[in-house]
Amino acid sequence: MFQYILRRTLLIIPILLGVTILVFSLMHISGDPVKLTYGTNLTADMLQQKRQELGLDKPIVEQYFHWLINALHGDLGLSIRTHSGVIQLINERVWATLELTTIALLITLVVSIPAGIISAVKRYTFFDQVARIFALFWVSMPYFWLGLIFMIIFSINLKLLPVSGRGGAIWTWEGFKYLILPSLTLGLPPAALFMRMIRSNMLEIINEDYVRTARSKGLKEYTVVLKHAFRNALISVVTLLGLRIPWLFGGAVITETVFAWPGMGRLLVDSIMKRDYPVVQGVVLVIAILVVISNIIVDFAYAFLDPRIRYN
């Protein structure tokens, strides 16, 4: 087990290095940030002077290693656009993204697990049919479109919830109400996917011999379903969870933009549009770390769920 943890942890290093090299290269071939920031205001000489000040006149490899060495010392540099520290900018935004993605993930699980189990147990009933149609509907929804529809219904027509922005702390109503629509937008489409997966797995499992045996022992139905069947169905749910976490951050980029939610996703989009290299590098690095950590947690969860799994 220890060896497994060590190996997985060491694997983070090449993954993160690869991500940073890729992003650094792509950003540098896609345009000049100085031109974009000052293009219509400065002469060619002044633009070149700005490039020198920012170190953008140096070879790209030199720029990368300079950035990497500073990053290893905990310094992600200064934003070209705002002149603020990248770590400070990320710190201002990361919590909003974590709030959004965590609540969205909870919505995904809270909606999909009961719906998936009931659909399987009550196969071909009215509930099952409705749940499957809804699942097909949600899974086909683009985040952008879904967000706008929610806005029109709940904010413009019913005037129940704010259109966009972020309120106070989420444990207060003033703060939480701002989180409802973005987290539903981000959480419901994957809930549909999870629900279909759980239903499909449960259908296989509830016909297994050991489930029949559990029933024949006279156990209550909910004990059979939840303790015997669902626990085994969870393995594939956890696998899907691991695969969906990067999607969650990807979806957050769109959802944050639509709902003006001040998270890292929007910071990333703004910085890409403005060619703010240091911020793009920093945000991608943080997202990559979050995704890698989430996947390691998912891997460890296998052992918890299924003791037969041996990591050596």
Partner: protein, 529 residues
């Protein structure tokens, strides 16, 4: 069941109360978050629009574009135009309670020269201010290397705003314009929640607004909150839901929809921004003046304004327009008018004919194909490119439209890798603007026509340096004439400022009396009753 209904009713009541409006504040929707509110660091429009509520320059512009004192009682030029003595108003307070004095002006100007990317005209390196004296608490003396007749205009720019010397010296550089900003403006910065909102409150000691504003201060609204709403569709939703009181960030395409809403007021006014075609004079085909004229006569600007700017933009004749200081009205008499028949005749005279019937003219086995570049990330430019492509197709010119985002397009423009480009520039003062666009020093960078003449350069210099207003005006008019006649630049459209306000916002009428609705008026006048 009953319990559920009661619970839902309570839930709805709570929600309704939570959505109630607060009349003590004005919510302003902004489409882009400022990069920084430090006046000496930013070049962004949104930053300028917001920081101008907090900090002020020495001078400002009235409704007739005259430079008038804002933070000073009087000023006086020496006869040779090399020394300006400024007498500050006494009793003007900064937001931290300190009084505005001469040392604050000196410190602010020195910081501007050291840091601002926009400090081009006033610094010593360009013949401007080389020394600032403060003989007493309220007197500042600016010493110029050479006479700078446009200095007052530049000193009315918010980028050279006055901040307290002591605060500037004792505050960490990273905090200035981010978590703190101290000025003399009618609003003070309370909080900037990154990506979400900037909160400002009324500065109760403000009382020195210029005469053209009915309210000398303090501001009528207790609070002004700038909410960042980057997505156009979301901004529309916020306006329709009544959550935003005022915005100047809606796309032209939304104007018709918003005008149909009875509780919203939509107003437009000309801006000093200009969209234009630039013909690359380094390219052999377009270098021929007759070819450029054929293109100029084939472009229907009205159609572009109507289709790409949804009628909110206006056709223009010159490279600077009516809202820009230095505009020459005579330009409309010499502009090339839309007449595709003239274009066809010119092309035929040049020997370009469509012999194979494919709709594209050819000459000596070469098809008449030109590359048009423009920006892809804003709908209006992309559509303008498509319209020009269709208009030129009608006279037998095939346009290969190549759009890319702003940075990549500028890169191509700088290297001259295009025949024609659609570009946009914005500046409120004519001379430096034209110097930037058409002076020979800009060839290879900001001069996208890649062309100039010694005569053109000379007139630009005179327009920026002569102490005679008549001589400056004549020279600037001559530049505008040459630019249009050359056909190297074909002015297309000037987009309009659009603002949308809820009908319960008071002060809008007075704001409309000024040509560009300055932030100072917005801060002092807008409120809800």
């Amino acid at each position: 069941m009953k319990k559920t209904i009661v619970f839902l009713l309570i839930f709805l009541v709570v929600l309704s109360f939570s959505a109630a409006a607060d009349n003590g504040k004005i919510i302003v929707g902004i489409g882009e978050e400022p990069d920084t509110l430090d006046p000496n660091q930013t070049t962004r429009f949104h930053s300028y629009m917001i920081l101008s509520h907090v900090v002020e320059p020495l001078f400002t512009l009235d409704k007739d574009y005259n430079v008038i004192p804002l933070l000073l009682e009087s000023y006086d030029w020496s006869d040779d135009g090399l020394k300006m003595t400024v007498n500050l108003k006494q009793g003007i307070k900064f937001h931290n309670g300190a009084e505005l004095t001469a040392v604050d002006v000196k410190a602010s100007y020195e910081r501007y020269f050291a840091m601002s990317p926009l400090a081009n005209y006033l610094p010593a390196k360009n013949g401007g201010i080389y020394q600032i004296d403060t003989p007493d608490k309220y007197t500042v003396v600016f010493h110029f290397k050479t006479a700078k007749p446009l200095a007052l205009y530049h000193m009315a720019d918010a980028h050279v705003s006055i901040m307290p010397e002591e605060w500037l010296s004792n505050t960490e550089a990273e905090k200035i314009g981010r978590t703190e900003l101290i000025g003399t403006g009618p609003l003070q910065l309370d909080e900037w929640v990154s990506g979400d909102r900037i909160v400002m409150s009324r500065f109760d000691d403000y009382n020195h607004a210029p005469d053209f504003i009915s309210n000398p201060g303090p501001a009528k609204s207790a609070q002004m909150i700038f909410r960042v709403v980057p997505e156009d569709a979301t901004m529309m939703a916020e306006l329709m839901a009544g959550n935003v009181d005022f915005t100047f960030d809606v796309p032209p395409s939304s104007v018709k929809v918003l005008e149909s809403k009875p509780d919203l007021r939509v107003e437009t006014a000309p801006t000093y921004s200009v969209q234009y075609l630039a013909m690359n004079m380094q390219k052999s085909v377009i270098k021929d003046k007759d070819m450029r004229l054929a293109v100029a006569h084939a472009v229907n600007k009205e159609q572009i304004a109507k289709a790409a700017w949804f009628g909110v933009g206006k056709k223009i004749d010159g490279l600077i327009n009516k809202a820009t200081i230095g505009y020459w009205p005579g330009v409309k008499n010499i502009a090339y008018q839309y007449d595709p028949e003239i274009s066809k005749q010119i092309l035929s005279d040049l020997g370009w004919e469509d012999n194979d019937g494919d709709g594209i003219r050819e000459k000596d086995g070469q098809k008449l194909e030109l590359t048009l570049i423009t920006f892809s990330n804003i709908d209006q430019w992309r559509k303008a490119g498509e319209i020009v492509q269709a208009q030129l197709a009608k006279i037998g010119i095939k346009i290969n439209l190549e759009t890319a985002e702003v940075g990549a397009t500028y890169d191509r423009a700088e290297t001259g890798d295009y025949d024609i480009g659609i570009f946009r520039n914005t500046w409120w003062l004519g001379q430096p603007y034209l110097r930037f666009l058409v002076h020979s020093s800009g060839i290879g960078s900001s001069n996208y026509g890649q062309w100039s003449t010694p005569e053109l350069d000379k007139n630009i210099e005179i327009a920026g340096s002569s102490m005679s207003l008549a001589e400056r005006t004549e020279a600037l008019n001559e530049v505008q004439k040459t630019v249009v006649e050359s056909g190297v630049w074909v002015p297309l459209v000037s987009n309009s400022n659009i603002f949308v306000a809820k009908d319960d916002v008071v002060g809008v009428d007075e704001m409309l009396t000024h040509p560009w609705w300055p932030p100072l008026m917005r801060a002092l006048l807008l409120h809800k009753e």
